[in-house]
Structures are given as C-alpha cells and as structure tokens.
C-alpha cells in the first residue's frame, strides 16, 4: 500500500513539473534606443523603442536542443505603458547576405520599417535569427530546409511572450505571423508547425501574411533550371548548398557545381556570406548553366530526379493538415524574377482542397491572394507586400472587434466579386462591353455554357482586341485565366460577367481611379472601413515614394 502511494505521488509530481514548466530565456542585451528604417543610406523613419536581444532553447535539425538568439523590439510608448499594445508581429526574416545582418545584430534596418513607419503601428516585433546565425552561428544555415527555422521562430515567440509577461509589458490581442521571400516561405512553415504542434501550446495566429516565398523547393529548383536564370543566382546556389548539407544528400560539390564555385562551396558553408560566393565567381546576374553541372541542369537526369525527390520530402504540404479557421494572405508577383510564382500556384489549389477559399479581396475569405502584382521585380513585390501587410495590421483593430469582423466591412467585402474586377479593367481602358459582339456572343455562350474552360476560351475569342489590350498591361490570356484561378473566381462569377457583358451593351464612363475598391458603387457608410485601409496604404506608399522607392500604386493588383 505504501509503495503504491509513493508511485502515485511520484506520478502526480511528474505531471505537476511538466505542466508548471515555464519557457526559459536569457536576456543578452536590453536597451531603450531609437530604431531607424533605412534604405539606400537614408533614414526614412525613426522610432523610440525598447530592444531586447535574448536567447532561448529550440531544436536543431536532429531534434537536439540548441540555443538560438532573437530580438524583441517594443515601441517605447508600449514599453512604458503609456499606450495600449495592439499585438505581436512574429516576423520571419528574409535571406541574409551575411551573418552580420542577423536581426539580433541590429543591422536589419529595413525590417525596422514594420513598426518604424508613419503609421506608428502599436505592435511588438519579435524576430528569430534562425539557427546558424547570432548565438547559434556554429550551426549550419538551414536555408529553405523545412521546419527547422519555423521551430526556431515559434520557440522564440513563446520565449518572447514569457519575457514580456515577466516584464509586465502588454502583448495586446492580436498575433500576426509574417514574412517575405525566404521569410514568406518560413512563415508558411511556421503556420504548418503551429497547426500540427504549437496550437497545443496556445499559439493562434490572427492572420498569416506570406509574400514572395519559395514555398515549394522542388518546383523552385525546376523553374530555375528551366529559366537557367534568377535575378540573384547566389540565392539559388545557397539553396542548393543548404539542401546538400542539411538533407545529407552525399553529393560531391564537384558533381553539382562548376569551378571555381565547386571549390568554394564548403567555404561558403562556414562563412554563410554571399561575399564568399562572389569570391568564387558567382555574380548576381550569372547564368545558372555557368554555375551548375549539366546533370543538375537536366531535369530528366537521374541526378536531378534524385535531388528533386529529396526536396519533395521536405515539401511544405507533407504532413500538414491546415486549420482552416486560420486566416492567410499569400502574395506573389506574377513574374517574380527571384522566386518563381509556380511555388504559390502549387500551394493555393492545395489549400483550396483543405477548406480554404481563395479571394483577392482582403477579409472576404480565409485565404486572401494577390498574384496580380504587375512588375517583375521581387523588390517591388516586397514593397507591395509590406504596404498591404502593414496597412492591414494597422487597420485590423478597427475592422475586427472581439474576434468578429466589423459588420460594415463585412458588408463591403461580401459583395466584392469579379464584376468589380471587370470595372477595374474598364478603369484601365479595357472596356469589355465596347469590344463584345453581343449577337455573336449570345450564340456562342449558349453552346459553351457547359464548362468553365469553354466559357473562358469563348470570352477570349469573342472580344476582339482583348489579347492586345491585356498585353498592354503585361497580361497574356493564360495569365488572365491563372489570375482567375488564384483569385478564387468561380464559374458562377464568370457567368455573372457574361451576363454583365451581354446585357449592358452601352459603355459607361470609366471610373476615375484604377483601384478596384474606388470603383465600387457603395454607399458612403459601408465604404468607410476601406477608406481607412486605403488611407493607411497611401500614407505608406507616399512615405516610401519620398524615400526614393519606385511605388506604382496603380499596379498592385488589389
């Protein structure tokens, strides 16, 4: 009897120890300081903050404990309790050119722009260095290598929340998960890990904002090979080296790369610096075929197939049962010159099959998409993502209340549909109603009503000059069809467009603005929330414009 009692007590004690276990962290540096948002050497904005550099325990690729570093940046007004905190931004950093640029070093000055900008977002910024940087610099870099960085990010978030609790600093109501480029991909891995593991630890995201991310490494590799080019070939090389190292592919670099890169790959593994790649002959504008051996530039080769199979093993979608109550924004430029858009075109339909409904309209569904960004430039896409994301988190406390979407905003977004897109095309000078032959169209639609592809093809055929008109805004008919897919436009939507085109032969005056929203015939009352979002967006756009950024507000897509 006594023995049983002891065992029971031991069991109870172990449970108590486990549940009472706190997330641990160590503060490396704490300072009240001023952060600056810089670009091109110029300071665009500055803000007083309290800044913590901290260490916490996460895991390496083998699941062993590893000490990771990160940074927490708290607006001074929140730190001193003089203004309410709206929430936390878990920012997953983009590609680093050097370990010196890790968030904890304070050199990632453009990232400061998330809270140091004219909107003065009252959010706390939490960023992990990811393994291989900062305090974990002796570990290899896990560049596009699956869940490792995501775990670092989430463990860093838990530690940051504990630190904030201990410091009696308000954490607000909202928790956003965001990142662009490498960070865009990591952001989705973070979302995956949250759904599969960290949900149980109390993590729920208000919304995930992922932009420009290589969310499917195998597809990215295949696209790079097809194009033989990337805006910055160093990133492709880094991705290949990371895969070889972290996936233990047992590939000799001499078989993968041409000289002198083949000899310098191991050196890069040590330095993690792009300048090392430059030292070994890799330039941004290189052709990949100058860098990579033919076997890996031929997708039909055994080497390439083996390599792709290895990348597919760490595919984002493997083992992910996404929680469709979580909200997402996925943004990608149609012709991104760094990260192929085909990556997100794999994930959007997959998510659609998992209970998500794509829509280009913010707030309308659980999966907002924007693949309409016109310019080719990855950096421009980043600016669009940044502005739309910052404006969205800024306006969030107005558009959402106690977890519920503002009724007025809801009334706006629920009615936005493809017809509004048509009106936007009109605002760009593409008035489909002027082009269509009504009599001919009616006959054709009767025969092609049966399927969406037929209707779309008919649409293209029926509107003389539409292909030329689309090309003026850098669109092919195939692009347009893909845009419909990405934007979640249904057959019902298409039929609504058909009805519009057939029953409104008289062209109306084009709306004054190129914005989809601005062209809506909405009552003033329900427009108000969108005015506010547009106000925030334009304020950011003007700010960046003054800072020398190429911001073409009418080419954002939505």
């Amino acid at each position: 009897m006594k023995k049983i009692t002891i065992i029971l007590l031991a069991l109870i004690a172990s449970v108590l120890t486990s549940t009472a276990q706190e997330v641990t962290y160590k503060i490396i540096a704490e300072a009240d300081t001023t952060i600056k948002t810089k670009a091109g050497g110029a300071t665009l904005y500055s803000r007083d903050v309290r800044r913590y550099v901290y260490e916490y325990t996460s895991k390496d690729a083998d699941g062993k404990p590893a000490t990771i570093s990160g940074v927490i940046i708290i607006p001074a007004e929140i730190a001193n309790g003089s203004t309410p905190c709206d929430g936390i931004l878990l920012f997953n950093r983009a590609t680093l050119g050097s370990p010196d640029d890790a968030p904890s070093t304070g050199n990632a000055q453009l990232l400061n722009g998330l809270i140091s900008n004219p909107l003065k977002p009252n959010y706390i910024l939490v960023m992990s260095d990811f393994i291989g940087y900062g305090s974990s610099k002796d570990y290899p870099s896990f560049y596009h290598s699956g869940d490792v960085n995501a775990r670092n990010s989430l463990d860093g978030l838990l530690a940051a929340k504990q630190l904030l609790t201990d410091k009696a600093i308000s954490q607000g109501k909202y928790l956003f998960n965001l990142g662009f480029s490498q960070g865009g991909s990591e952001t989705l891995y973070v979302a995956k890990l949250r759904d599969m593991e960290y949900k149980e630890k109390g993590i729920t995201f208000t919304k995930t904002f992922a932009g420009g991310g290589p969310t499917d490494y195998a597809i990215a590799y295949k696209e790079y090979v097809k194009r033989e080019w990337c805006e910055d070939c160093k990133d492709v090389v880094m991705m290949l080296i990371s895969a070889v190292e972290n996936l233990h592919l047992n590939i000799d670099y001499k078989d993968l790369f041409k000289e002198p890169l083949a000899s310098g790959a191991k050196e890069y593994v040590k330095t993690k610096s792009k300048s090392t790649l430059s030292d070994y002959g890799v330039s941004m504008e290189d052709s990949l075929s100058h860098l990579i051996q033919p076997a890996y530039m031929n997708l039909e080769s055994d080497e390439a197939k083996t390599f792709i199979a290895a990348l597919e093993k760490i595919n984002l979608m493997n083992g992910w049962e996404p929680d469709s109550t979580q909200k997402y924004f996925i943004e990608h430029s149609r012709h991104d010159n760094y990260v192929p858009i085909q990556c997100v075109r794999a994930i959007i339909p997959w998510m659609t099959g998992k209970g998500f409904t794509p829509s280009l309209v913010p707030g309308k569904t659980n999966l907002q998409t924007n693949t309409l960004v016109f310019k080719l430039n990855h950096t421009f896409s980043a600016i669009v993502w940044l502005i739309q994301t910052v404006a969205a988190i800024e306006v969030w406390p107005v558009l959402y209340y106690e977890g519920e979407q503002n009724r007025y905003y809801h009334n706006v977004v629920k009615d936005l549909n493809v017809l509004k897109v048509i009106k936007t095309l009109e605002s760009w000078g593409i008035d489909l109603r002027k082009m269509i032959n009504i009599h001919f169209a009616r006959q054709h639609f009767e025969s092609t009503r049966a399927n969406r592809a037929g209707i779309l093809a008919t649409l293209m055929d029926l509107v003389p000059g539409i292909k030329d008109a689309l090309s003026k805004v850098d669109l092919t008919p195939e692009d347009a069809e893909q845009m419909l897919e990405d934007a979640g436009i249904t057959l019902e939507d298409v039929l609504a467009v058909v009805a519009y085109l057939l029953t409104s032969p008289e062209a109306s005056a084009a709306p004054a603005s190129g914005s989809i929203v601005a062209s809506l015939p909405l009552s003033e009352n329900v427009e108000a929330p969108l005015y506010l979002m547009r106000y925030y967006e334009s304020k950011l756009a003007n700010w960046l414009l003054m800072g020398g950024f190429d911001v073409e507000y009418d080419k954002w897509g939505m």
Binding site: D86, K120, V398, Y401, E402, S523, E527, A528
Partner: protein, 380 residues
Amino acid sequence: MKKLITCSLLGYALFAMAQTSEQFSIATLNVDGLPKKILVFNVNANGPGDAGSSRIGKYLINKNYDLVFMQEDFNYHEVMKVWLEDNYKLDEWTGDVEVVDHKIDFLHLQNHRFDCDGLMACWKNDLTVTAVPRTAWKQNFGKFSHAMDELVTKGFRRYEVTLRGGQRVVVYNLHMDASDNADVDDGNDMKDKEARMAQWMQLKDDILSQLDTRPVIIVGDVNTLYKRDDVKKQFIDGIAETGRATVSDVFIELKKEGKYPEYDKDAKVRNNSIEELAGETVDKILYINPATGTQLKPISFNVDKDGYTYEGKPLGDHYPISATFEITSRGSGIEATHIDEIDSSSIRTIYDLSGSKVSHPHGGVYIEQSGKKTKKRIVK
C-alpha cells in the same frame, strides 16, 4: 475617530410629520444629437441636425414638463438650449463628438473614445436640483460595430431633486448599450445583452448603496426590451427581494395592467417601432419606492408623439416619453427605539432628520439604522 455621544431618549418618535403630497411631470427623450458624420462614418445621416434640434427645443418648451432628461445631447446642444434656458435651469453639458484633428489619433482609432456621455437634464427654475458626478458604465460592447457604444462614454448621472412643496426625489438619467438590429437578426447580440445587463446590475448596486427614504426615478434610453433582456427578474425583482424597496415600470403599470412581457432568451427582438412592440419602447421610466419613506404614485404615462413631427416625420429617432407622478410623504417611518453609545466604525447607515442618507455626519442629530433597529445619535 469621531465619537458619538448618546442621549437617553427611548421610544422617541421621529418625524410625526403629517402626510403631504404634490404632483410633478417628468420626461425623457433621446434627442438624437449625434452628428450626421463622424470621420468617414455616416453615423446619423438622417438625424435632426441643427434645424431639427431647434424644433426639438421648441417642442420641449411647449410641453412644459417640470423635469426633462435627455440622452445623446451632443452636437446640437446650443440650438436646443436657446429655447430652454429662460424657463429651465440646465445641467452642465459634457461636449460634442466633433472631430478636431488634434484630438483624434487617426492612426489608432481603436484607442479613441469621446469623453462625453450625452446626458443632459433641465428643470423648472423653481425646483432645486443637485447632481452628483457622472458615472461611466464599467462594461460596454461595440466599438466600430455593435451600435458603436464604445465611441462615447455612456453611463448614468444621479440627481437629487427638491420639488416645489419640499418633497424630495432622486432621479437617475442614463443611456445604456444598444443592440444593432442586424445583430439581433443574426442572433449575434449576446454580448450586447451581457453588457446591458451588467449596466443594470451596476445601476442596481449604485441605487441600493444610496437608498434612503427618498423615492427614486430611473429615466433614459435603456435600449432594453423586457422580452430580450431579463431586467424584470434581475433588476426589478432583484431590488424587491432585498425588502428595501419596490420597483415598477410606469408604462407596464399604467398601460399593461402591470403585466411585463415574458423574457425569452432566444427571442430576436428588434428595436422596432412602438406599434410593433405593443407600445413598449427602449426608453423607459421606472420608479422605486423605498420600504419606508416617501412614496411615488404614477398618475399618467405618455408616448408623446403628437407634435413631435415635422413634415410628417418624427423630429428624432426616439419619441419623448413622459409621466406625471404624485409624491406623498408619510414620514420617515423610522423611529428611534433607544439610544446607545456605539463606536462610529460599526454604524451601518446614518440618516439626517429628513430621512436622507448621510455619508459623513457632521455635528448634529442623526438617525442610525442597523437592521430593523433604529437609534438616535448626536454627533459632535
């Protein structure tokens, strides 16, 4: 510590005052004084504006009520005031909801709250009224939706009124959280109801903590309908159960033979017209008679639709409701049975000789009540 000195008077009957009574009228009206637009929100596009508010002022002066309590007296106060200020004394005005750049943080609108409550009162020049500081509700729901209750500082204000004949009555003027009809239709106004009930409970606590021999009248836009809000049980019966007072809704008592609409927690009851609600409005006049002390008796109740129109339309989005009361003093009912020495820290409740509760007695004669026992005290 203040020391209480005892006298040895036993069986001393206080206030052998003969019964006296007088009548007075009281009205409550939501004057719909929000501006037509706040920022870019059309919050009150069909509101009365300047011209309509002036007509409301003129209407009120013609009605000649003794006491008028208003809600949403925000942006058109001045144009109403010019009609009222000759015959009435006006309470202090808490301000408008005007948007001036330097007052609003446009980047963090979620943190903004106008500090005005919209509550206003006016009383005939020959009445004496003192008001205590305004009290904000502790719980609200709705910032930019759910009727936007958190955009202003809704709450209540307590007035202590001495009528022409010397009778005294306490009035609470208040404005409670609303339910948006669209939320009602969707069955999504539970948190609005919760906030409203919390406000009723806060009101109950305040009233009971200060209840003395004076009767209490509650007037205002309570945004409450008995079928959707369990106010009958929680507030009306709740006070009655203390044994200290009884509560009655004048409309229910005079127009519905005392029968309250039955509460149904699942009912989706909109803020519809009074015709659709069988005469019940979200504006109410309730009265509380203390178990011992001065008593109110309602004589009449009216939804004053007549004359409250212009070109066939109501002047605002609420009709005035009014009541006439007879107030009768039957003495305090409090008798000192013995006088004893007691430490002042153990005293439960102290009244002055007119039966009004006193928080901090200064020198003089007072009555102390503890449970059913009453004692006379002399405080030096």
